[in-house]
């Protein structure tokens, strides 16, 4: 068991190190999130009530898109330099390797997005009463985005225009997370409890933790047979 974990930690730490040393990638994702959010006051007008009404949905949609934009770095570089086929050839279970990569992706994408969400909230006049719900929802939802995204990224390995293909594959699968994330905030703002929505988000995450790496590992195996 400890042997399994040694491989898991090795991949996790390596991917974190790579992401932090290539921090431009991380900055691009956060920059996209911020700039795209700042377009909405120009697009729909700066009326505070309008912005407050759409803010939860805008923040969630942009979080989805930001995560999706960074998915190609999950496997693409490792495929290009031969690391991925060597990972397939090690005695470590590929499922754990994929899980470690998805966790590293969340730590360097989802987590920073959650961290700057309050700033984006101010920009969009997000109702203060909904902040807690928004952040808990993102904390439960974004790990699922990374896990489901890993399946999409693995399936499009080696494809031309993989980025667009990932969007087509992954965005429809993100819809349930978007719905429960946004309705959680809306229900709190209209005086109801968000607990049921959190439970749905948690259920999606609990299902994605074992299933997504299994699917992604199978796709990676296929992808390296080039």
């Amino acid at each position: 068991m400890t042997d399994f974990l040694a491989g898991f930690y090795a991949v996790l730490i390596r991917d974190l190190r790579l992401a932090l040393r290539q921090s431009a990638d991380l900055a691009l994702v956060l920059g996209f999130f911020t700039i795209a959010a700042s377009l909405f006051p120009f697009g729909v007008g700066p009326a505070p009530e309008t912005l407050a009404r759409i803010a939860p949905g805008v923040i969630w949609v942009l979080a989805l898109l930001s995560v999706m934009l960074s998915l190609d770095r999950l496997f693409e570089q490792d495929l290009a330099d031969g690391s991925l086929e060597q990972m397939v050839l090690t005695p470590r279970p590929l499922v754990l390797t994929v899980l470690a990569k998805a966790l590293a992706h969340w730590l360097t994408t989802g987590l920073p997005l959650i961290a700057i969400t309050p700033v984006i909230g101010i920009l969009l006049n997000f109702p203060p009463a909904g902040y807690g719900t928004l952040l808990i929802g993102l904390a439960l939802g974004t790990p699922s985005l990374s896990l489901i995204g890993a399946v999409g990224a693995a399936l499009t390995l080696g494809a031309r225009r993989a980025g667009l293909l990932i969007a087509l594959l992954v965005l429809p699968l993100y819809i349930p997370i978007l719905i429960f994330g946004v309705t959680a905030v809306d229900s709190v703002l209209t005086g109801f409890e968000a607990r049921a929505h959190f439970l749905y988000l948690a259920a999606i995450l609990v299902a994605a933790i074992p299933l997504a790496p299994l699917a992604a590992a199978a796709a990676v195996r296929h992808g390296v047979e080039g």
Binding site: D3, A6, G7, Y9, A10, V11, R14, R17, L18, R21, Q22, D78, D81, G82, S83, E85, Q86, M87, V88, L89, T90, P91, R92, V224, E225
Partner: protein
């Protein structure tokens, strides 16, 4: 019981039949040198043997059992060195080697492996500044880190100077002395005493022979 055998192996890449009816058998300590013109399927054969490709027809057995029965186990017992150098430019030489050593379960071998390939002095350098020969040497350390007894080497000496080639020859010799099996393709003079040779050009289907690049 032969360590590794291939029986009437046939390989299809895209629309092209690369080779057909290929047979060989290797025992512990054996080496097989793959020769043949470009496009005759040396790399494809090595990828088949690594389990990274599936044959169209024929069978590969390791220790008497078809490798398709236990692909995971076979991959774990195989060290494959392809054309690519899996080196991260933002990690140091030491960090690159340590990562693979941990995945291969041999973190204690890093220093010896780096020393054998004369990389100790470069250990702190980042992967970005390595020359192509140095990158190749770093890739070769993976063989020393791997506990596998089957080595599949696809042109292992590309970009290496004569000293490094001699070091690789020594590595291969030591590995065979310990009962390991080595299959390699190369275009240069490579000392491989007592090795069998397999000219893949002999197995190119007649219909495709004219298509092979000269």
């Amino acid at each position: 019981m032969a360590r590794l055998t291939a029986t009437s192996l046939t390989c299809l890449r895209g629309p092209r039949l690369v080779f057909e009816g290929l047979d060989f058998s290797l025992d512990a300590g054996d080496a097989l040198l793959l020769t043949g013109p470009n496009g005759s399927g040396k790399s494809s054969l090595l990828r088949l043997l690594a389990g990274l490709l599936s044959p169209l027809d024929g069978q590969i057995t390791a220790n008497g059992r078809p490798i398709s029965d236990d692909m995971e186990g076979h991959r774990a017992a195989t060290a494959y060195l392809g054309h690519l150098d899996p080196i991260k430019s933002t990690l140091s030489v030491q960090e690159n080697a340590r990562f693979w050593a941990t995945l291969l379960g041999t973190p204690d071998r890093v220093d010896t492996a780096l020393a054998t390939l004369n990389l100790t002095e470069l250990a702190a350098l980042s992967g970005r500044v390595l020359s192509s020969g140095q990158r190749r040497r770093l890739s070769l350390t993976r063989l020393l880190l791997s506990p596998a007894d089957l080595w599949l080497l696809d042109e292992p000496t590309v970009g290496l100077d004569t000293n490094a080639v001699a070091a690789v020859e020594q590595m291969v010799m030591d590995h065979r002395a310990q009962g390991g099996v080595v299959i390699l393709s190369t275009h240069i003079e490579f000392q491989l005493p007592g090795a069998k040779t397999l000219d893949l050009g002999d197995f190119t289907p007649a219909a495709f022979r004219s298509e092979a690049p000269v």
